[in-house]
Amino acid sequence: MMKTRVCACQTKDVYLPERARVVASEPMTATERFLAFELESGRPLGHQPGQFVEVSVPGVGEAPISISSSPTRGAAFEMVVRKVGNVSRAMHELKPGDPVGIRGPFGTSFPVGGAMKGQDVLFVCGGIGLVPVRSAIQYVLDHRKDYGHATILFGTRTPAERLFVAEAAEWARAPRATYMETVDRGDGQWTGSVGVITTLLPKVTIQPAKTVAVICGPPIMYKFVILELRRMGLSDDRMYVSLERHMKCGVGKCGHCQINGLYVCQDGPVFRFADVAQIREAI
């Protein structure tokens, strides 16, 4: 006889978005826009640094977007969206007060309450890889005594593509924190470092036994950064990567975000590198 299933689905539709409103919308670069939202119910989103939500723009569709702010920064939650798809293009048109639908938060988070605690933290971010990692940077800086030295490395293709420029200046001034940035190519006025992100790593001294690295960037970046970190003595179980895939449903069903047997929407987006180092499709 078949068991009668008694389950939560009879009261809850996992695909049903909750209404939220835009509370801030500002251009950040030529292709990136900063957006902040609040749930209409007024309750905090309840996310952890590194998680994502599914954003619905009425009449356009739904897309997975990383949360860029730390839960320590109030009920509003922030995103930075690159204009690349239907939904992100529509999000670039959003004005304060506009309604959207939100599902989530989904996925795993940076181990701010676990492996990172009490350790030196090294953030390695390429381009919009800084966006999800910013939630963890803010969290670490908001709980300064719980962590050792915080090093933030940020690389972009050009100076104009840098994100959170004003905020990064604050990070550089924070106690026991280092902020370094580089660009692949300068623009005439640029006087800072030129070179890919890995050129910043030799400028950093780490204590491998008490350092945890957080890595996020374009697909091509991971293997070079990881190889360099290994050379610096950091073990795979001290590296955390946030991986991008199309997390369409967010609940481990639709199949789009699979990395071999893993679902990025459930098992990720944040993975301990040691856990995915042997997984062919991961990096």
Binding site: M1, M2, R5, C9, K12, V14, G61, G255, E281
Partner: protein, 350 residues
């Protein structure tokens, strides 16, 4: 609480004409989806006349998954103010004539759609269904259910029918099934001889629904795949793959989906629907901005077999997510989609 006394399931004997009377009665009272001829082949379609029911079919073109996860399925309605409202299918129906291997697939889908996050849309349809399973009477050209342990089934259905000689043995498998068999109250109980012949049918089906012979136990497939990531068979077969996704569409255990918002004509709102998708299609693992995380054809090809034999089984307590219906073998235009051939080939040296 006192345990209810376990009642023996109702088992009756049904002639063809009694079957027709029963089905005609069901059609008058509720929605019945049954197997019918569809051109040269067969399909699950709404049944309007009892005589159209073809329990002697070999295999349907599309598995019964379409009743629980339709190819285009409304999930939500929305308006421009971002009010989203769930849409659920609420009409009960009888699904008549499901083969055991397809029933096994449905039970697997019950697990994947309830695992961790329960899918209310799937279960709205599923709970509205009363499923009548019918043992296979005619082997399809590519069936290998006998190798997968899915040629027969002993639980999970609401009613099980088996043709023995010139009549059917009909057994209830659930309270829903008992209710459906209320209409058979006046039919005789199945006699010993019929039940004995039914056992024989089960034995025969397990033996003969084998058009392709798997040279291993299904339980050995996960370990075999684990050591076969670099086997040349993936490149060899994928070299002839058109990435058309036919194998995905006809598979009773392929459930990947795409979600799209369809805007209404008045532009004031619309419907969010999910559509069947397929991991063999080129753009399946695309992200916004155009990066394709599974661009290589052989990687997509391997991914599909790994889902069936390794990834999804991890969600199913080890059960292989291929039920041996053989539809993919028939549907594949390049003739490269025979799972038995692939698994057997993996046994060979590279």
């Amino acid at each position: 609480m006192r345990k209810k006394p376990t009642r023996k399931p109702t088992i009756r004997k049904l002639t063809d004409s009694a079957l027709r009377t029963w089905v005609a009665g069901l059609i008058r009272r509720q929605r019945v989806i049954g197997v019918q001829a569809d051109g040269e082949r067969f399909a699950f379609k709404p049944l309007t006349r009892a005589e159209d029911l073809r329990l002697d079919y070999d295999v349907t073109k599309i598995p019964p998954k379409k009743l629980f996860q339709p190819a285009a399925e409304p999930l939500l309605e929305y308006d421009q103010a971002a009010n989203y409202r769930s849409i659920f299918e609420t009409e009960p129906f009888v699904l008549f004539g499901v083969h055991p291997y397809d029933m096994v697939a449905i039970l697997q889908m019950d697990q994947v759609f309830s695992e961790k996050h329960c899918d209310a849309h799937y279960f709205a349809r599923r709970q509205n269904a009363t499923i009548v399973v019918c043992d296979v009477q005619k082997a399809s050209p590519n069936v290998f259910a006998g190798c997968m342990g899915t040629a027969t089934i002993r639980k999970g259905y609401d009613v099980l029918m088996t043709r023995v000689g010139g009549h059917y043995v009909v057994e209830a498998g659930s309270p829903k099934g008992e209710a459906l068999m209320e209409g058979l109250k006046n039919r005789p109980e199945a006699d010993e001889a019929s039940l004995h012949r039914r056992e024989q049918v089960w034995e025969d089906n397990a033996k003969f629904l084998v058009r392709h012979t798997l040279r291993m136990k299904p339980a050995e497939i996960p370990a075999l795949l684990q050591r076969s990531e670099d086997h040349p068979v993936w490149e060899e077969k994928a070299a002839r793959c058109f990435s058309c996704g036919s194998c995905n569409l006809v598979c009773p255990t392929c459930y990947c989906f795409d979600v799209r918002d369809d805007v209404k004509w008045d532009l004031q709102g619309g419907m969010r629907r999910r559509y069947w998708d397929g991991c063999m299609l080129l753009n399946f693992a695309n992200v916004a901005g155009g990066h394709n995380f599974r661009k290589n054809r052989a990687d997509r090809y391997r991914h599909r077999y790994y889902r069936k034999g390794l990834y999804v089984p991890a969600k199913l307590g080890g059960e292989i997510s291929c039920v041996g219906c053989g539809r993919c073998i028939t549907a594949c235009v390049s003739k490269i989609a025979n799972p038995v051939e692939i698994y057997n080939r993996l046994l060979e040296e590279r």
